[in-house]
Symmetry: C2
Subunit: 124 residues, 2 copies
DNA sequence: CGCCTGGTTCGACATGTGTCAACATAGATG
DNA sequence: CATCTATGTTGACACATGTCGAACCAGGCG
């Protein structure tokens, strides 16, 4: 394996979690890779989405219902809109349980993005 | 210290490279933190910028002149525009050397973003 | 000095995006 | 079934953003 303990907090086979792209520093991205990766970054490129995502990610059990996190200074439809965006970007998944809808983070995508930003482990 | 060897590829005092925010998973972001972090993510949230950034980052010596990376399918003014955005976001720095202008990556910012995406090292 | 090449800035335009109010839907509960 | 609460969807609108061509600045060179 190329890099052994870069993100030891995820799956053991941490090489498999990045079906998207190599580290940004490894070689110039192709148009397709850039398109894919940019979609994820763009999803986190909004303050409200970032707060929502962080709220879900840091919530107990890695999941939270909308009612728990919708206090970010915008109207409820806007919250819903942003959560949808995050879902479309593959960063969150949602599940309805009775009255409430719970969102949870997709850890593999987080890890993939983290690896993208890794300084090229050329020497390792 | 809270997290000892999350991104061992950077400076030894890797805690100092993130003057921005804690990991997304540690606690809900404040409005200010989200604003700051979103600015960086947004900068990488465009395919063209991502290609340019990757081209610079992966170039020999971590720097490249515009002429080396401007082959991304958009006009040259547009390239310049995106490079400016990346510079404003703190991801790149530029320096004129004779005829050419060289861009290089700001590794500390890369590392900071990587840490942001770290899965909360709660257990560690 | 005049000109050429590399790069940035300007002005304009089309498109994308964040936001809200109003309406619609899904379950729970009486 | 009536109704209430929790979410999502729609339509509209202001604003930001990506893009280009044209004009402009900076160095090197004859």
């Amino acid at each position: 394996m190329s890099n052994t303990k870069v993100l030891p907090l995820v799956e053991p086979d941490s090489d498999a979690v990045a079906p998207c792209c190599p580290p940004l520093t490894e070689r110039p991205f192709t148009a397709d890779e850039a398109e894919t990766a940019a979609r994820m970054f763009k999803a986190l490129g909004d303050p409200v989405r970032l707060r929502l995502f962080s709220a879900v990610a840091s919530h107990e059990g890695g999941e939270a219902c909308v009612c728990d996190i919708s206090d970010v200074g915008v109207s409820q439809p806007t919250v819903s809109h942003h959560l949808k965006k995050l879902k479309e970007a593959g960063l969150l998944t949602s599940e309805r349980r009775g009255t409430w809808v719970y969102y949870r983070v997709e850890p593999s995508v987080l890890a993939a993005m983290g690896k993208l930003l890794t300084i090229a482990p050329a020497a390792a």
